[in-house]
């Protein structure tokens, strides 16, 4: 079922790393400079089959012929046997479900909550971390972490975030590295990072660990996915060996740091040597690396650096907008100095 996916694309214009998250990519990091031969691109090769595409077009045409920009955003029916994903229904919610109207908005809530989480991630501008929701499900995000210094310096670790489908009321999201990094908190077999220890009570009162980071907006009462990502980065800078998932690593770190270091170096090398592998997940939005190809990447880079986000259709009627003659710090209208005659 692909129609639903295209819907999401339109909802989520920021989803592609190549343009949408320009801030993240170019703002705080010098990814390009540090790794001039790497480029990240999203694997957009796989598209819908033609038949599906067509049915989508028809759908679109029938519905609103004059609105091509918003794409195919038909919400198709969920199969009856699909797991209901809405919040565990309170009695009231069930009642609404029964009469059919209200509950149908439920999916929007979850989807928008995840979009809001993603928006928060972008706003946080996490250093060295890039994520991108998958093409197939908003509950799965692909990510990559660049480690700039410390024991894991030069490590580039791809990972996947799995968000429980009863989000935000469920447990905390899981972070699984594509290749199990040699690390006390990373399961040597599955590659899963022990996130739960940092978020013992997901979605509850703010967690001490991130209280000080909790500066910006709306973040006081709940945990957020960006905090998980931040945590996934922190573990590589501050090694914690308590209750390890990889006892060997923990023991080595405590007893024989040199050996630990060399194992880490090996692990980093191993990870980096698989960097150009096909993405583990067959998903158009999975993060894949390729060597620098000027024909493709120069232009993309150019666009990244010159991109200025504008509203989708800002041209019409917006020549005059955003008027303000309020002097900063004042609350009086027309307090700004009369604009001196410009030439």
């Amino acid at each position: 079922m692909n129609l639903n996916v295209t819907f999401v694309l339109s909802i989520l214009p920021t989803v592609t790393l190549a343009n949408g998250t320009g801030n993240t990519c170019c703002g705080t990091d010098n990814l390009m400079n540090l790794n001039p031969f790497w480029s990240m691109s999203t694997n957009t090769g796989r598209k819908r089959s033609d038949g599906e595409e067509q049915s989508g077009e028809q759908q679109q045409q029938r519905a609103s012929p004059a609105r091509p920009s918003f794409g195919k955003k038909q919400l198709p029916s969920i199969p009856k046997n699909a797991v209901p994903i809405t919040k565990p229904a309170s009695p009231a919610a069930t009642a609404q479900l029964a009469n059919g109207t209200h509950a149908s908005y439920g999916p929007f809530y979850l989807e928008y909550s995840l979009l809001a989480e993603f928006t928060l991630v972008i706003k946080q501008k996490l250093p060295g971390i890039y994520v991108q929701p998958s093409y197939k499900s908003a509950l799965m995000w692909f990510g990559v972490i660049f480690i700039r210094h410390g024991l894991y310096q030069d490590g580039v670790f791809k990972f996947t975030v799995y968000i429980p489908d009863n989000y935000p009321d469920g447990e905390c999201p899981r972070v699984v590295f594509d290749i199990p990094v040699f690390h006390p908190l990373v399961d040597p077999v599955s590659g899963e990072l022990d996130v739960r220890r940092a978020f013992t009570k997901w979605s509850s009162v703010p967690h001490g660990l991130f209280l000080q980071l909790d500066s910006d907006t709306a973040l006081r009462n709940h945990n957020h996915i960006w905090q998980v990502l931040m945590y996934a980065r922190t573990v590589f800078y501050k090694i914690n060996t308590m209750e390890p998932l990889n006892p060997e690593a923990a023991v080595l770190y405590d007893k024989d740091v040199q050996l630990f270091k060399s194992k880490v170096i090996d692990s980093v090398k191993l990870c980096n040597s698989h960097l150009f592998d096909q993405p583990k997940m067959d998903d158009p939005y999975a993060i894949s690396f390729s060597s620098w190809n000027p024909a493709i990447h120069d232009e993309a880079k150019e666009r990244m650096f010159s991109h200025k986000r504008r509203p989708e259709d800002h041209q019409k009627g917006l020549q005059v907008s955003g008027l303000s003659w309020v002097k900063p710090g004042s609350t009086q209208p027309f307090s700004k100095d009369d604009n001196p005659p410009q030439s």
Binding site: F7, P76, S77, S104, D313, G329, T331, S343
Partner: protein
């Protein structure tokens, strides 16, 4: 209005057009240059002989000879191509930069031919005939010449001599020659625009005697600024070229600002033109609320005004800053304050409606920031009788329907500007102190609806009774799949719902969509069983798509709302990215909030309207007041206005715009309708009185029926708290002594909420405008405003009414109403279908609807007023179909059962009441049912906005030049 369009308008008169005329005139000298030169010299020999006659004989032979020779010679001159390189004779002013002149021009320069010709004429005494001939000759010469001429003093001086003569008081320019003069000036300006150096020459080399008015072309053009027709247009084009050319010339700019009457003439001309605009806008169609282009194109006085306003706008766009700022000042002090201000405060309802609609039109037409600033400064800062214009406009929102609609429309325009100063004055300054929220909640001001809680709350307010359409098919209503589904769940080929064809609520009304949908002639009634009801779905009935329950169409437009909301939020936050502060409850600090102005204690303009509703805020419940005296006054006013002997009310400046018997033909206007409604009530009352207590009562007691029908139209028992009792009218602004003592969210919010609370009684169109404005406000990303409107978890101070409270109260009223009307579901469905059809009706290009002619009104109009053309709003021939629909909506009250619309509600009002009672009841029911439809859609809109705010990304401030360039737009 754009500069480009001005330029492009000029091109037809540019070189292209000229040369074609050239060819047509097939001049005698397509011969080689040498022959031409010889011919020219020959003419010149003979001509100079005549010119050298010591005493001009005054004999017509001389004149004829001079004219003939001059004609020939100037033709030759115009035809001549520039000389080869190195050929140029001396005597040119800028010989180094200009290509060498041809031999004929060389001769003209060395012999000073033109100067001698002109001087000869002037010495002789210029008769209009010769003056005209010279003007035409020069116009031809400048327009057609193959080489630049105006750089040569030998051409420029005689030209200025001729123009100087035209400017002289004793000679002047006779009206018959004005066309030639303006055309010549226009040509000069076109050449000047091509070679800006000419401007400096024109400016410097003026004859000394002209002194300060040394930019002759300019002072000659100014009187034509406001002229009608082609001549005015040419003059404005020419002036605009001067403006553009002089944009970087300080000297010329100073001259224009200090020594010419350009700016005052332009600005005060607006005043003069405004005074000749119709004082009364007559509309058929109860949805009319703003002047659209098609509305004013047929009104010559308004076209004239708009031409001049657009010219002002264009001048401000291209002129030197000195000129720009002077013009802006003159527009403020010479037009807005002395003319627009009083016009907005006129005491008659018609004039208020007209002036408000004009102001709205002007605001929508102006594109230049500097000019907009002047308008906004006028609206926000100028005090007329102690009240700002904004105060006055705010009071109008609570007035009767038409004035309310026009005022709402103006506010919609204002809000669309995304102007910080405006929003500060209108809303934000009242929210800045944060006193409206509980102290503990202040931090939550910045929260967004991360988990859809607010959206859920809004949607939960959709009344049960409005969800009926899905009920019968609840089990068929499958839950839509969505992106967030579990990965492994089988993605299936389950049938998809057709995309809801619901036009979003706005589209129902605004009709600006270019969407061209195929429109089938019978919108609703003939295919009641069609699953999708809407004609927009090309699906054949036997389509494989499984049938969608009727009404789903309407129900499931939520995605559309999300999309609209996304666009709205994005555009708004983009537009606000350069504001001075985020307004997030911390910046600006609540402590620096400005001292709020004392609200008006009494409101003169409000007291005018008997049927407006005013609300006391503190009580929490709306207090409805009607005033029987005022009712009478209104009725008499309406009767006066409608009576055949009207005119007593019209101002002296009415001019010729308003023919006799104008207002008789007003067709269906809200005002007339209100009056009619009152008459109906009167008769109902009379009748009932006749039964019980025959003719003993005084004519017009303050009747409970009044408030019941008009104020509380929802019918008996709906909201007993709403009483038509209070005699005193109170303004929507609540007195406030100290800003911090009692939290107050400002008159705008108060009046909007009051109006919203009254939704059940509002007309459909008021409700559409009203909810549209609230949605516009809800698009603003400033946390203070966003949290006030959209955060349903916010706890406000007890005295502050929240949007969710108001909505809750409306919900209850709708549900009570629905419970008391057993056929509510059917009516609701009909209303939905009608609105869907209405939303589509405007972009259907055939005229399929067998419009039942509005017999009475239409024929009345036609019979009484044959010369409809010039009068505003007389769309006898070009009513949009939407207007038809609107008329239909109203027509059922009159025609009882004839129209489509009345068919919708036929049988809805049972009971054995009289026909009149039935009709009155029908109106109340109609408003309430439409309200139920709009209300549900409004809630979806708000929910969608709450969700979109949570996922919108902020835009970076822009201080770069790209903005500038897009504004300058050369």
């Amino acid at each position: 209005m754009e500069w480009m369009s001005w330029l492009s308008r000029l091109t037809p008169r540019g070189p292209g057009g000229r040369s074609s005329r050239n060819v047509a005139s097939s001049s005698p000298c397509t011969a080689d240059p040498e022959t031409c030169l010889m011919v020219f010299e020959n003419h010149w020999r003979q001509l100079s002989w005549v010119l050298e006659q010591q005493e001009p004989s005054g004999c017509s032979d001389d004149l004829t000879a001079v004219r003939n020779h001059t004609d020939q010679m100037l033709c030759l001159l115009a035809e001549e191509r520039p000389g080869e390189v190195g050929e140029g004779p001396p005597g040119t002013l800028t010989s180094s930069t200009v290509p060498p002149v041809g031999p004929i021009l060389g001769l003209v320069v060395t012999e000073n031919v033109l100067e001698r010709v002109v001087q000869w004429h002037l010495r002789r005494g210029l008769d209009p005939d010769s003056q005209g001939a010279l003007l035409k000759l020069f116009e031809m010469l400048i327009g057609q010449s193959q080489q630049p001429l105006l750089q040569h003093k030998a051409v420029l001086q005689p030209l200025l001599g001729l123009l100087g003569a035209c400017a002289e008081p004793q000679l002047g320019c006779p009206p018959s020659l004005e066309n030639s003069l303006v055309l010549l000036l226009n040509q000069i300006c076109v050449s000047m625009a091509r070679a800006p150096a000419v401007l400096e020459l024109l400016f410097r080399s003026a004859p000394v005697q002209h002194g300060p008015t040394n930019l002759l072309i300019f002072s000659l053009l100014v009187p034509f600024i406001h002229r009608d027709g082609a001549i005015g247009q040419q003059a404005r084009d020419a002036l605009l070229l001067v403006m553009a050319t002089s944009a970087s010339n300080q000297g010329v700019a100073r001259y224009i600002a200090e020594n010419s009457y350009f700016c005052p003439v332009l600005a005060t001309g607006l005043s003069a033109l405004y005074s000749s605009l119709p004082r009364k806008i007559e509309v058929r169609g109860d949805d009319w609320h703003a002047l659209r282009r098609e509305d004013w194109m047929g009104v010559s006085s308004l076209v004239l005004f708009m031409n001049s306003l657009e010219f002002c706008n264009a001048v401000i766009q291209v002129a030197h800053p000195l000129v720009r700022s002077q013009l802006v000042d003159y527009v403020h002090n010479g037009f807005l304050v002395p003319v627009m201000g009083p016009a907005l405060h006129k005491s008659s309802v018609d004039e208020m409606i007209a002036s408000t609609a004009y102001l709205d039109l002007f605001l929508r037409s102006v594109t230049e920031t500097a000019l907009l600033k002047t308008f906004l400064r006028f609206i926000l800062m100028h005090r007329h009788d102690n009240d700002t214009i904004l105060d006055t406009l705010l009071t109008r929102v609570s007035s009767n329907s038409r004035l309310c609609m026009v005022s709402l429309s103006l506010f919609r325009t204002l809000l669309s500007l995304n102007c910080e100063d405006l929003m500060l004055q209108l809303v934000l300054r009242y929210l800045l102190p944060c006193t409206h929220v509980m102290l503990s909640q202040r931090r939550a001001v910045r929260d967004t609806d991360l988990y859809g809680k607010s959206a859920d709350k809004f949607l939960s307010l959709i009344p049960e009774c409005c969800r009926l359409s899905v009920l019968p098919s609840a089990e068929r209503e499958e839950e839509p799949a969505f992106w967030g589904k579990v990965l492994n769940s089988p993605s299936s080929e389950s049938p998809v719902h057709p995309k809801p064809s619901t036009p979003s609520r706005l589209a129902l009304f605004m009709r600006q969509q270019s969407t061209a949908l195929p429109f089938t002639p019978s919108p609703t009634e003939t295919v009641p069983s069609s699953p999708r009801g809407g004609p927009s779905t090309p699906l054949s009935p036997d389509s494989p798509m499984h049938p969608v329950p009727e009404g789903l169409d309407w129900e499931s437009g939520y995605l559309e709302y999300l999309r609209d909301a996304r666009r709205g939020v994005e555009l708004c936050s983009w537009a606000c990215r350069n504001w001075s502060a985020p307004y997030d409850g911390e910046d600006p600090s609540p402590n620096t909030a400005p001292l709020l102005p004392p609200p008006p204690t009494s409101n003169p303009s409000l007291a005018m309207f008997p049927e407006h509703f005013s609300f006391q805020q503190g009580g929490g419940e709306a207090m409805l007041s009607t005033q029987s005296e005022a009712v009478e006054r209104l009725i008499s006013e309406l009767l006066d206005g409608a009576g055949p002997g009207e005119g007593g009310q019209q101002g002296p400046g009415e001019g010729g715009q308003q023919g006799p018997g104008d207002s008789n033909g007003q067709g269906i206007s809200i005002e007339a309708f209100t009056q009619e409604l009152r008459e109906l009530e009167e008769r109902v009352r009379e009748r009932s009185r006749g039964v019980g207590d025959p003719d003993s009562e005084e004519p017009l007691p303050p009747s409970p029926l009044d408030s019941d029908l008009i104020g509380n139209g929802a019918g008996a028992g709906v909201e007993p708290k709403v009483v038509g009792s209070a005699v005193g009218l109170c303004s929507p602004a609540r007195p406030l002594g100290q800003p911090s003592a009692q939290p107050y969210t400002g008159p705008f919010m108060v009046v909007l909420f009051a109006k919203l609370e009254n939704m059940l009684q509002n007309s459909l169109y008021v409700n559409i405008l009203l909810t549209g404005i609230l949605c516009q406000l809800a698009c603003y990303p400033q946390p203070l405003l966003r949290s006030f409107l959209l955060n349903t978890n916010m706890v406000f101070q007890p005295s502050v009414k929240s949007l969710i409270q108001v909505l809750g109260s409306v919900k209850n009223r709708i549900e009570v109403f629905a419970a008391s009307h057993e056929d509510f579901p059917a009516m609701l469905r009909k209303a939905q279908r009608y609105l869907v059809a209405r939303g589509k009706v405007d972009w259907a290009d055939s005229s399929p609807m067998g419009v039942p002619t509005l017999r009475r009104s239409d024929s009345l109009v036609k019979s009484r007023k044959p010369s409809l053309g010039d009068l505003i709003m007389r769309h006898t021939n070009s009513p949009t179909r939407a207007r038809h629909a609107a008329q239909l909506a109203l027509a059922h009250v009159r025609d009882g059962g004839q129209s489509l619309h009345s068919a919708l509600f036929r049988g809805g009002t049972g009971g054995g009441a009289s026909g009149l009672e039935k009709q009155v009841e029908a109106l109340r029911v109609k408003n309430a049912v439409y309200c139920a439809v709009i209300f549900s859609e409004f809630l979806k809109e708000l929910a969608a906005l709450a969700q979109e705010h949570a996922v919108s990304m902020p835009f970076l401030q822009s201080h770069d030049t790209e903005e500038l360039s897009s504004v300058l737009n050369f």
